[in-house]
Symmetry: C2
Subunit: 204 residues, 2 copies
DNA sequence: TGCCAATGTTAACGCCGTTAACTTCGGCAA
DNA sequence: TTGCCGAAGTTAACGGCGTTAACATTGGCA
């Protein structure tokens, strides 16, 4: 169907783009189908030809977010296991820093209950898979402990996810020191936090 | 001011309680001032005598959430440094599991931009302080590395926060195995994830 | 006792998501 | 070439929301 005065011709794509722009600038709470339609010079119900409801539109945005995150994690691709793991952590946090509102939508949990949008779940899983593969690889090479893969992966994911969330919410020191912080924290998970010279606790 | 047919007498308190109940059951998105007023048998604008707007009400809920979290962290109080640290982690994740919707409100970041509600920032800081004190204590006793306190604390907080978020959003295995997972992950941050026997990476 | 500040009320504005019923129009079948 | 049908738009409407303005009630203090 081609472009006409009546038929818009590319509404789905443009709605996605415009909604993404609004999300980036003002967060998902600012996304309204009516305002979106207004900006696109179209009536509000027209959007319902392309999205079942507001939540479906948000789900599409989240899906593209997971795909972008996955690409950034795949781009790390270091040979050395330690560098690969720290690189993944840095890339993850950098994504959250660059796209805070998108990241919040993806992981907010407020919208989009798990299981409501299968394609969304699948996109999230695909991004997670990159992290898990990196951990598994480090383990196969003997760099990481022989602990259960699910445990190591959950630890790594929890760490970078928590750091991302705290960073974009301003709970941690300014963004200038953020890369060092991320690298230092990742290193802590790798090397441990306990003082190795004294395994026993000294008496107080 | 006493209870009357006209004057409710305890609206502020009851609104808080009712909103908290709705939050627990359906999340903050389901909290509406009009519905709240209806449930309390009062007109909607009456609530504006006690809360500047919807966001202020949510801020109050979040504040009480941080206070509850702080109490649960304070209740750990183990002598042994390692047990104290793991105990804090378990308590933190347990709180999130018990109050998922409240936890999301507290850390969602979607509502309540940092700095908008000073008392909220202060309540969050007070909860964070318990974690930092525990870390500092472990460090002073020589159990933890002599790394910068802010780094160690950020790592611990990131880990438990990320684990909490992933847990309540259903990204990790069922809640039955959750305590073991939390304990195992916390132990990983303490002891490290790398295989100690081989510090060098073997050639592939 | 009278008044004032606190705490309620109704009415209204403009926004929102969503649905129903109708219109336009591109492209394919006869 | 024509006719029609389904995709993709339209307007109108419903009910809900946050919020404000203007007004009403009333408890307690001077």
């Amino acid at each position: 169907m081609a472009r006409t005065a009546y038929h818009h011709g590319d509404l789905s794509q443009q709605a996605h783009q415009q909604a993404l722009a609004t999300l980036r600038e003002q967060g998902d709470g600012a996304i309204s189908l009516r305002a979106l339609a207004r900006q696109l010079g179209v009536s509000a119900p027209a959007l319902y030809r392309h999205y079942a409801d507001r939540e479906s539109l948000l789900a599409e945005l989240a899906i593209s977010g997971f795909q972008a995150l996955r690409q950034r994690l795949l781009a790390v691709n270091q040979q050395d296991s330690r560098k690969a793991l720290i690189g993944i952590g840095l890339a993850y946090v950098a994504f959250a820093r660059d796209e805070p509102n998108l990241y919040r939508l993806m992981f907010g949990g407020r919208v989009l209950p798990r299981g409501a949008h299968p394609r969304l779940d699948q996109a999230g899983l695909a991004a997670f898979q990159v992290l898990e593969d990196t951990v598994a690889n480090g383990q196969q090479r003997g760099y990481l402990k022989a602990a259960p893969l699910s445990l190591l992966t959950a630890a790594a994911w929890s760490l970078v996810h928590g750091l991302s969330q705290l960073t974009i919410d301003g709970h941690l020191p300014g963004p200038d020191s953020e890369p060092q912080l991320a690298a230092g924290i990742t290193a802590l998970l790798l090397d441990g936090s306990v003082e190795r010279t004294t395994n026993k606790e000294p008496s107080p």
